[in-house]
Symmetry: C2
Subunit: 436 residues, 2 copies
């Protein structure tokens, strides 16, 4: 088999054999004599001519096996993983890990860094002084055995084929292909070892999938292929037309996650409870969603989730202080600036997630390009969510900036991210639907 | 403009602007910060979604301008170039250059090396001891001013964008795209400076285009784009189901070309006369084909073409001997082996050009991969053309080999390249048609 033959088959719209897709994955993992420009030609052919479900499964499994795989068999079942397709202000993982761990699930997760407007969980956690995001596999397993949860950055040893293919897709306009997205996401999940998965597919201006239809298409395919690969998967479609929660920016979001674990109220907290509830149904701890939601709320209200957070942060920072103390040391921006509403009173009808996300990138809180350094302290605090009553002179947003010039750059966009109308607007739920 | 934007447009089936195609060409010439894997993704998108005539013209012109261009204005008009899409035993250039030069045309040509079954004119010429195929632009112009013709290998300075794109296409299954083929061929012709062109599009098992329909499609598009670029172009569709002439192999073909210039009979000689005739019509020296053919035959019979050959070979080898003496020193293979017909007498009905071409590659006379060294002496001499009467015990082919083991490797294939039938077969003309 040569790569030119493999490219030719997909170019001509033919179906790949399992061996051919294993060859592509091995090539991406550097185990075949294939050049990047050959892989990218194949990627474009696959983008344009597609991969069917069986091909997508074969590619996914090959990529999952392209490097090391985490073996969770020393840890108590059930093994749950969670994935979000990424959004603005999405700190859900920071809540769900301790919450579900407190409910008896083993949570071992690898997470990525942010690129563009969608933040990355690892970037958020690194705003906590001393938080380690480079745990080895053995350290992951040891920590999860001790406290029930562990998270780390993407290891180069797990699904290395994905690392190569993703980097190529990112620079060759071949990101937005359902089969390639599915293989990228699920190969890492499979390599991560969990047998249960909650998927949060976001849609709206601040998400990868702009509308409900495309989010459903992706979510459905992700669940189909995950099921074929033996992972029991629940898929939520959630709203990303407005940012999730009231804070966008790394350290700001860590603080907000902590507050949800303490108080558990509001739109973002509701989403966390919903996702946790479905995770508990998925593993069989709860019979149906309401029972799962009750268990999740109990874990929040009883403080067990908060305790788990404390142990987590203390363990993974190696700090002797409490989780709360650590938070007190989160970095803060030197400049804050309020964007005030100077029109007639009304109701917030629009907070453009894409615009807010881009503004945070422009403040230095996200990456324009891979390798950019992220500033953990900057970000935007929102005055309210869609449906909130706004009076004249009230702050629509508080911008946390590093420099006056960066602040000035983003003020016009942030100002125009909001729309206010003169009649009451119904708040939009964060959870749009669970895929049946 | 970024390359990702450009790739995305073609990925989505949109039409490129002239600026975008210039950007692609500059990128291929190393003048933009673009990686090979980005170019190959674009090539696959262009392969699958196509380029329209205007896009093909823009790409062609940009590639033609991506490096140095030959300026023929110091030479007498008309300036004629000739191009063949490549075939087995195709030594037409070796005849047409001196023949048309003898008829008053200035022939300045760059030519390529062979890859796979289609031989390269430069490889054939290099079988002549001392023949220089690396003339600089100034040397080309000086020689053409002196003797009316000059040929050299592809200069890396002319159309460098094509060099990059062709190498990528060759390894990413994106060769067989009409717009990309057209841009590749014509960019080099335009950079070479001629304003008249005879194109020989071959079809059959020994050619790039397997059938008449695909050859017509390519020929028509080549002429359309060449005309848009201001080059007056005649397109012949010629047969490549059997090898052209009686010899395949580098030194063997040089000798056969020389014999055509001396005698000018047979199927191959007829094709040379036809191509020359149309070239003479194209530049206005002849009013119609028959007049051109008469002039070409006169140049052969009067010996003026042969004299031009002698001056050419002597000039370009720097040799003091005659062209004929030089030929006497052509390399010869140590082993010759006759493949005999041991069936009933009959007529040759098939000589598979693809099989014969591959056998010559397997003998070491062609390249499996770029960079392979070519053996000039090996090859195959055919016992006749399709339609020839064959008696029992007669040689169908004489194989010229370097080693016994290489000889043994090719005997079975060569044997099966022939079919003999028990009834007379009409000889097939080499020229199928001129495109109207």
């Amino acid at each position: 088999m040569t790569i030119v033959d493999v490219i030719r088959r997909k170019r001509d719209g033919q179906k790949h054999s399992r061996e051919e897709l294993t060859f592509v994955s091995e090539a991406a993992a550097g185990k075949q004599d294939v050049d990047d420009y050959q892989l990218s030609a194949w990627l474009m052919a696959a983008y344009l001519n597609g991969l069917d479900d069986e091909e997508t499964l074969w590619l996914t499994l090959a990529m999952a096996s392209s490097g090391e795989r985490l073996d969770l068999s020393s840890l108590p079942k059930p093994w749950m993983d969670k994935h979000s397709t990424g959004g603005v202000g999405d700190k859900t993982t920071l809540v769900l890990l301790p919450l579900l761990s407190a409910c008896g699930l083993t949570m071992v997760k690898m997470s990525g860094r942010g690129l563009g407007i969608t933040g990355g969980t690892i970037d958020k956690l690194e705003s906590i002084p001393g938080f380690r995001t480079n745990l080895s596999s053995d350290e992951m397993l040891a920590q999860a055995a001790e406290i029930g949860l562990a998270i780390t950055g993407q290891s180069p040893n797990l699904a290395p084929a994905d690392k190569t293919l993703y980097a190529l897709r990112d620079t060759t306009a071949t990101v937005n292909s359902i089969p390639l997205i599915v293989a990228s996401i699920l190969s890492k999940k499979i390599a991560g070892g969990a047998d249960h998965l909650v998927l949060d597919v976001k849609c709206g201006s601040g998400a990868f999938m702009p509308d409900l239809a495309s989010a459903r298409t992706l979510g459905t395919k992700l669940r189909e292929i995950a099921t074929m690969a033996g992972i029991r998967t629940a898929v939520a479609i959630t709203d990303m037309s407005q940012p999730l929660g009231r804070f966008v920016g790394n350290a700001l979001e860590v603080r907000e996650a902590f507050e949800v674990l303490n108080k558990g109220v509001g739109r973002f907290a509701s989403l966390c409870v919903d996702l946790a509830a479905e995770a508990l149904v998925n593993v069989g701890i709860a019979r149906e969603h309401e029972e799962g939601a009750l268990l999740a709320r109990q874990a929040l209200e009883s403080g067990t989730a908060r305790e788990r957070w404390d142990r987590w942060i203390v363990t993974q920072t190696g700090d002797k202080n409490s989780g709360e103390d650590v938070l007190a040391n989160l970095p803060k921006s030197p400049i804050t600036h309020e964007v005030l509403w100077d029109g007639e009173p009304g109701w917030l009808s629009r907070i453009d997630a894409g615009v807010i996300g881009q503004a945070v990138v422009d403040l230095g809180g996200g990456r324009r390009q891979k390798g950019d350094k992220v500033n953990p302290s900057v970000g935007i605090e929102l005055g309210g969510e869609i449906g909130t009553r706004v009076e004249k002179g009230q702050a629509l947003a508080t911008i946390h900036a590093r420099t006056e010039s960066e602040l000035k750059t983003v003020i016009p966009a942030v100002t125009h991210a909001f729309a206010i109308e003169d009649h009451a607007i119904s708040p939009l739920p964060a959870l749009i639907e669970w895929l049946e």
